[in-house]
């Protein structure tokens, strides 16, 4: 398989010019294998979980309202705007490669700027309006996480530890996509010097062609990585047992049942009907407002 595209520059020097499109297919294959693998594994091998009734009764249910807001309107708007930008970017980037041809460049860079704006908004929002730390992964969580993975793989049905507002896998996914998207955006911004915009005329010579090669490769790699990540994201969003989360990204709240089943009040407390936590969604950098749960106590 080819990894890079190289070429001889005008002086006959060998330079990188980008990733080989094989990598795009590789990303798709990885995505498909993961999705299919996971689906089969869950379907055939993981045991049934215990009936929900027990949960809903339990003392912990006391004072928990029917609906708990998980994502505010602002947060949801951001998520969907960003996902639109992301899909436009992926489509304009890769459809022409597979032979569906159309004038894609302008759409692509405008969508890129769109993505940048949503991400900037998100960073501002999460720092000013929310608790950045809610995305923090501490040792305890990691240990739990590894244990969870172990159980999942060992297929032992013991009841699992409950998460705070954001389960560990969501956090990990968020950080992964955050890094990849940042790389794509930064390199993308550099590449803006290669296109004419109302603001400036293109100048391909601001970097040496060797350096440009690196920029193109990084942009390409993050691009194909996004294919896999988005595939995984969409897959989980449509899995029946995750529906409650997906729905919460549409209508904003989760039910008490889901709350009790999946969340640990210790980590995500809900006081007299008003959730102390709002906003955010798995995978798109949701952050929790208020003080980190480990500093909390309620008696």
């Amino acid at each position: 398989m080819e990894f890079w595209r190289r070429a001889a520059n005008p002086w006959g020097q060998d330079v990188l010019i980008g990733i080989a499109w094989d990598l795009m297919w590789a990303a798709v294959i990885v995505g498909v294998v993961f999705v299919a693998g996971h689906a089969l594994y869950v379907k055939l091998l993981t045991p049934k979980q215990q009936p929900e009734a027990q949960i809903d009764a339990g003392p912990s249910a006391a004072g928990i309202p029917e609906r708990i807001v998980r994502h505010t309107g602002a947060a949801r708007a951001f998520h969907w705007l960003m996902s639109v930008a992301m899909f436009v970017l992926l489509i304009t980037a890769f459809f022409p490669v597979v032979g569906i041809q159309f004038p894609w460049v302008t759409i692509h860079w405008i969508a890129g700027l769109g993505l940048l704006l949503t991400v900037l908004y998100h960073i501002w929002h999460s720092i000013v309006k929310q608790d950045v730390w809610s995305m923090w992964i501490d040792m305890k969580e990691l240990k739990e996480g590894t244990r969870e993975l172990g159980r999942f793989l060992k297929r032992s049905g013991e009841s699992r530890a409950k998460a705070g507002k954001y389960p560990l896998d969501h956090k990990l996914y968020h950080h992964a996509i955050a890094v990849v998207t940042t790389l794509a955006i930064v390199t993308g911004l550099l590449m803006m010097f290669r296109v004419d915009t109302p603001l400036w005329a293109r100048n391909p010579y601001i970097l040496s062609d060797q350096l440009w090669g690196v920029v193109y490769v990084v942009h390409g790699i993050s691009g194909v990585a996004l294919i896999t990540l988005v595939m995984a994201h969409v897959y989980f969003a449509v899995r029946p047992e995750k529906w409650w989360i997906t729905l919460s990204m549409i209508n904003g709240f989760i039910g008490r049942k889901d709350y009790l089943e999946h969340h640990d009040p210790e980590r995500w407390a809900v006081k007299d009907g008003t959730p102390t936590a709002v906003s955010g969604t798995p995978g798109s950098a949701p952050l929790r407002e208020g003080i980190p749960q480990n500093k909390r106590s309620h008696h």
Binding site: A7, A8, F102, P103, V195, D196, N203
Partner: protein
Amino acid sequence: MAVMRDMIPAFELFQPASVEEAVALLDQHGDDSWVLAGGLDSFDWFKDRIKRPKAVVDLGGVERLRGIRSAEDGIEIGAMTTLTEVASHSDIRESYGLLAAAANQVATPQIRNQGTLGGNVSQDTRCWYYRSGWPCYRADGNICYASAPNAMNREHCIFGANRCVAVNQSDTAGALIALDAQMVVQNAKRERIISADDFFIGPGTDITRMTVLRPGDLLTAIRIPSTWAGADFFWEKVEDRKSWDFALVSVARTMRVTNGTIAQSRVVVNGVAPYPMRLDAVEAAVRGQPVSEETAQVGGEAAVRRAKTLRHNDYKVPLMRNLVRRALRGEAA
């Protein structure tokens, strides 16, 4: 790997006798194949050792691709008909003089004796950065050298730039669009009829090709409907040398005038965009207008609206405007 720009690298040569054979060969060799018509564009690529097809399919032996026949409506010109035949054919001179005039101004007599109509419309651009074998967008690279600051782009485009700023330089392309020609394209699966207008594509659509033809496709014939037969034609090509040169700007115009006013017209300019540019706006602006200097002025201005120049090609704006004016004044071809 040192650069060498001489001696054609080895290839396999196939000389099919029928379109079927030819198409089968192209299908069989896919991306490694190369269609050889007159070869005057191809040999440059081969001798420069930039394009190195493994299998060259020489269409010279395919009788069906040669010759000019009258079709039910208009005429059909085999893609392998030489430009000399096109330029000198009596029917074409009488009814479609625009095409004859354009074909007659391609390069030189020797080239017209060998170069074909199909080859002329399918020719690759002459952007000298691209032709130098540099890794530009059009060559699957990631840069356009010609539009860089200080680049030498006197002969590049003022319209239709999309990362690539090369121009289409075919003389006959404009005439064919103006005459509403149909291109007959054959491949292993099927035969398509494409209007000349859609035959040429810009870099936005596919930056590595000038036309819709993909590997495996064969342009077999060009049909000219009687729509414009015997209409009023105008052709002019402005070039630096009067032989063996490409148009800086060329204009092909068809027109039907009824009692002094322009009933119908088609105006196509080449050498200003990566594809021959049909000027719908101009056609609309002059429809129903009297043939006059005023109309010419209006059309000329409409033609160059939204032109975007590069460092060295500003002159193409007045040149194009003036040629369109001339075309609309109704001076003879």
